[in-house]
Structure formats: C-alpha cells, structure tokens
Amino acid sequence: MGVAELNQIDLRALTRGDKRTWDAFVIAAAPLINAVVRRTLSAYRLSEDDVMDAAQDVFVRLCAQDFRLLKSYDPARAGLPTWLSVVSRSCAIDHLRRRRQATEPIDDVPEAFLGVEDRHIEKLRIPDGLLTARQILVLKYLYDEERDVMEIARLLSVDAQTIRSTHHKALLRLRAHFRDDRPDGGG
C-alpha cells in the first residue's frame, strides 16, 4: 500500500472508528507521514524517537475527539494525500515548538535558527497592485531562494516557459515603475 491507496480508503468507515479501515489507513498513510515529518524535522538534527513521536502526534491528531480533524477533511477541495501532507507538516512544527520549549543545548539548534534574519529580503517596498501575488512568489523563489525554474514550474503545476514569462512580465513592470519613482531620482 502507498499514497495512491489513500484515495481508496472508505472515509465514512474511517471516521466511524472502524478498526480494519483505520489499520488500512495507517499502512497507506505511514510512508507519507514519515517522509513529511522527517523532511520537516531534518534541519533540527532530532533523534529517531522525535520523528516517531511527531509521526504519532499526526495520527493522534487525526483520530482525536472522535476523528474531528478527519471529519473536517473535504475530498472536493483537495486530495487526501496532499491534505495529509500539509497536516503532517503542521503537526511536526507543533511538535518541534513543544520540544523547543524545554531547555535545549545551543549546539542542537541549527545555525540558521540562531542567525539574524536578513529582513531586508522580506521587506520589499513594492506598491500594492504593481505585481500579482504569483509574480512576487516567482521572483522570491528565483532570487531570494535561488530555486530552479523547473522546480518552481513543478510546484505551480505549469511549464517552465510560463514561469519565465511570469518573471519577464514582473521585471518589466518593476523597471517601468522604478524608472519613474525611485526616491533618489536615479530613474
């Protein structure tokens, strides 16, 4: 069983608490939850026990309060594997936050976490409406994170040419705007 089998799970039986359906769900969901939790916690050099506990937190959250979270899932809005991956990431972050509340040796904290954030990257003074949210997102991925065009295209479910086009149009708008509006009068 794997991620594809998740879509075959009988959600009604699952949220009724049917043991066999729950077991099938666990077998199908565990590889995905395991992968997401590991990826989310990977920067923090946590132990295998932490990964196990964070993954268990995901399952607990799913079945807690008579499966309230699972009952809130709407198949019409997103596929179960994708929704589950987002939930798993949130749980892993919550686990990390709870764990960090206890005293932690400074050597265990990733350097990036201790470093002073380069805030100027996040505080772009771009007039509202000049760029679309997607254009800003593409520029941030390309320049702030130096991601590959193909990687961004895969994420946004478009082809690479569309990303290049989005980037080109955004730059044209920025150049046109700041040629006239730069505070130093530099064009």
């Binding site: 729950w22 399952f59 607990v60 987002v86 990257i121 997607r134 479910s157 150049r175 505070p183």
Partner: protein, 178 residues
C-alpha cells in the same frame, strides 16, 4: 529547454528594492488554512482563490520551503515507514467490541469516568470489608462472642455475690471483737 537562471541585472534590481527602507509597515503574513494550502498545491484553486494563498506563501520563507518540500515528496515514490511507527499508530484505534466495553454506557461512564484514584480507594475498601468479614466468621461470629461475654458476666456476678457475703461475715465477727 532553457532552464538558465535569470540575468544578474534582474536580481540586482530585485535586491536593490529590498534594501529600500519601507515607507509603510510590512503587512502581517496572511493565515492560510491547511485545506487551502493543499488545494493550492494541487492546482485546484481559481486564480482569484489562489491569490491570497500565493501572497501568504510569498510572505513566509518557511511556507515557501514547505511548499517545495511537499510538492517534492508528493511527486515521487516514498520509502516504507518504520514498523514501529505503524504498530504505534494502529494501536490508537481499538476494535468495536473493545470500545463498547470501555465505554460501557451510562453506568460504565459513571464508573470509569471517575479518577483512577477513586477506583483504587474503592477497591481498597472492598478488600478491607472482605478481610474484616472473613476474620469475623473465622472468629465464631457474633452469637458465640455474645455467649462468651454472657458466661463471663455470670461468673463475675457469682464471684461478686460470694465476696459480699464473706465480707458481711467478717464484719459480723469483727463487730463482736472476735
């Protein structure tokens, strides 16, 4: 297909904008729900609905990384999860029969809804009553105890009467100077 990174000058423009002091407070990141993020990752949102999600993702570096990570994980085969993880998760939900026993209706809820400490105290009280009853029965019960007590009382009373009589005779002889 050309996958070259954009020109250096474009990056410089972007970064030159970044070092400008903001004239207005930077807006706080928009909260995005788990289901909206999932729908966006699957490309199910309309352009209008995707806007706020993309703005939230653009504003949060952690969310930007997460989006790429999740897209990557969902796009390729996954290794099996450790057996221990599966066993622990399966144990979270029991069989129907177990759940019925554990819930046990109103009485069950009343009984098991109490704290474990109260259950311990109750059990201790029952054990104490059993021990006391057992000891009492082994010891002959109440009737035998009363019978023994009655015998003791008669003997004491007889002895007491005898003593009184002897005292009176002694006083009689003492009164006569004997």
């Amino acid at each position: 297909m050309n996958t070259q990174q954009p020109q250096r000058s474009d990056k410089e423009l972007w970064r030159s904008l970044a070092i400008q002091p903001p004239v207005a407070p930077v807006s706080t990141p928009i909260a995005v729900s788990e289901v909206d993020l999932a729908a966006w990752l699957e490309g199910r949102l309309t352009e209008e609905a995707a806007g706020p999600v993309e703005a939230a993702v653009a504003a949060d570096p952690a969310l930007r990384r997460a989006a790429l990570d999740l897209a990557d994980i969902l796009g390729k085969p996954l290794p099996a999860a450790p057996e221990r993880m599966v066993v622990r998760a399966r144990a979270l939900v029991g069989f129907e029969a177990e759940r019925k026993i554990s819930s046990g209706g109103l009485i069950g809820r009343w009984l098991f809804g109490r704290s474990w400490h109260a259950l311990q105290q109750g059990a201790m009280a029952v054990v104490a009553v059993v021990i006391a009853t057992g000891g009492f029965v082994v010891g002959g019960g109440l009737s035998e105890s009363l019978a023994r007590q009655g015998e003791g009382y008669s003997a004491t009373e007889t002895a007491s009467t005898t003593n009184t009589a002897s005292n009176e005779v002694s006083e009689f002889f003492a009164g006569d100077g004997i």
